[in-house]
Every structure is written in structure tokens, then in C-alpha cells.
Symmetry: C2
Subunit: 138 residues, 2 copies
DNA sequence: CTTGACCCTATAGCGACTATAGGGTGTATA
DNA sequence: TATACACCCTATAGTCGCTATAGGGTCAAG
């Protein structure tokens, strides 16, 4: 591969993204199709590397691929208002916040259930009992 | 459906589980195959309802289907030691704990990113910038 | 000239459902 | 009796974000 072009393996190493994942991003319209070498290898420009880095960072922050797609589109129009960016980021933060709360109340219940078990056999197990509070017909 | 047998719709309403999900549980070995009516409708016993309730409670607590399967097997052998139950429950709690921590640090970053944005256009947007820190080639 | 690292496409699998297509059953009412 | 309608059936494909596999082609070094 020439000095100015990068192979898919180069992008993979540079961003810590699996090769298959890069092809997956291309197929799903997140990464534009690069040129090809004579041997039909993908030949990326530095711009592709930037874009892939962007995608990875956004994914690391938990944005969905749809959100990443939207962020990429917005970031391409540099004169556009960034209000839409803010909306996406805040929606995602709210979602994360909600998940944290859900998991915290879940953990509270799990803690209670686990702590209540001081038994030896399943017939007396408080964990099992908490799952099947009605009389055990099965 | 006779007075002692329940239709799939009955189980659905009683447990708040979609009909398709009940069939899915059956196909995946969580719920035993019920008898059938003359018209080939599933005819459930009360024991099925108990089992489905168990599954739903465990799922609500975030146990995976594999974990639920294991818990069901354990709960069927009522004379068995409940140590294995404890192991599954604690493993799941630890997992939930880890997820909470991950999401909390994620939220911290998202908060910082969102708070840092006081701009009007994408070119100056701190959110976009935090995603693409290198010079924008694309 | 062969080895081995790398690349290609196409397709199937994961988990836990959900949705759809294309039918059959059972009951209440006109 | 006809028909409308709620309910049930099976089989298959779709969701999300990859990951893995099969079955090949390319390219540089030894």
C-alpha cells in the first residue's frame, strides 16, 4: 500500500477496531467506501482514519450507531447550528442516567434477596422463594 | 378452554408476557410443552403459570435466559444445596454492580462534554470536538 | 515456488425477543 | 346459517452491533 494510503489493517491497528467491524461500518453507511488497489484491497485516505476515530469515540461514549450517523452528518456541516448535537448528547445522557437508576434499584433488590439466604437446601432458599412466591406446583 | 386448563392468552394476561414470548420460551426449553386441545391450541396447567411467573420475575431481575434455565433446574431439585443458587445470584449482582460503575463514569464524561458546549455552530462545538480531537480532514 | 500474513465477499450466529405472513378455530350476533 | 371477530397456529425474518465462519484471492519474503 502506498505511503499516502492505508490498508484496512492499518486502520484496524490505529483505532483498535476489528477489521470485520470496519467493513461492517462501511456496509452500514458510517464509513464512506474507499478507493481500491489493483488487487481490490481497500485503500483509505487519512480522512477515513479521522472518521473512524470519531465513530469509535462516540461508540465508546455509548452512542448508538444511529446517533453516531446523525453526529457525523451534523459534524460534516460545520456552519450548522450545534443545537441538534446538543439534543442528541443530552438524550443519550438522560438514557444513561435512567439506566443507572434502573440498575441501582435492581441491585438493591438483588442485595436483599442474596442477604436473606441463610439456608442449606433449595427447599428453604430465600432466593428461589423470592422468584416463585406462590405455592410450588411444578 | 376447560376450567382447569389455561390458554396461551390466559398466561399472557396473567403474567404480562407477550404470546410470542411464551412460545419463544417453549421453543427454547424454558417452559415445558403443554398439552393440546382438539383444535391444536396449547392447554396449560397451573404449574405452567407458576413456571412462567418464575421466569418473568428472574428476567425482571436481569438474569439471562441461561441463568434462568439454571435457576429453574436448581429449583426443581428441592433437596439440593442452594449454594449453586447463591453463586448465580452473586455473579449477577457483581455484573450489575460493574455495569453501574461503567455507566457512572460514562455519565461523568458525558456531563463534562455537554457542559463544555456554549457554542452556536458545529465548527466550534465542544461536543463534536471531543469526538474528533485531531485536525478535521473529512 | 511455497509459505504465511494479509485481504476479499457472502452468510450465519449471538441474546432476547418482536413482527410478519398466511393460515385455522371458536363463539357471538345478524 | 352466515359472517364477523377474537383468538390461536407455524414458520420465518427482523432488531442491534458486531463477531465468526467458509472459501477463496493478493503480495512480499525466503
Amino acid at each position: 500500500m502506498s505511503s499516502t494510503h492505508l490498508s484496512i489493517g492499518d486502520l484496524s491497528r490505529a483505532t483498535g477496531t476489528k477489521v470485520e467491524t470496519i467493513r461492517f461500518y462501511e456496509k452500514n453507511g458510517l464509513l464512506p467506501q474507499p478507493g481500491r488497489t489493483q488487487g481490490n484491497y481497500r485503500a483509505y485516505e487519512p480522512a477515513h482514519l479521522n472518521r473512524l476515530s470519531f465513530i469509535r469515540r462516540a461508540r465508546d461514549l455509548g452512542f448508538s450507531l444511529d446517533q453516531v450517523r446523525a453526529l457525523l452528518t451534523l459534524s460534516d456541516d460545520r456552519s450548522h447550528s450545534c443545537a441538534a448535537v446538543d439534543v442528541i448528547a443530552r438524550a443519550h445522557r438522560d438514557e444513561v442516567e435512567r439506566k443507572i437508576k434502573d440498575l441501582q434499584s435492581l441491585k438493591t433488590v438483588l442485595d436483599q434477596v442474596i442477604e436473606s439466604c441463610h439456608c442449606n437446601i433449595v427447599a428453604d432458599c430465600a432466593i428461589i422463594e423470592s422468584l416463585a412466591p406462590a405455592s410450588q406446583g411444578s
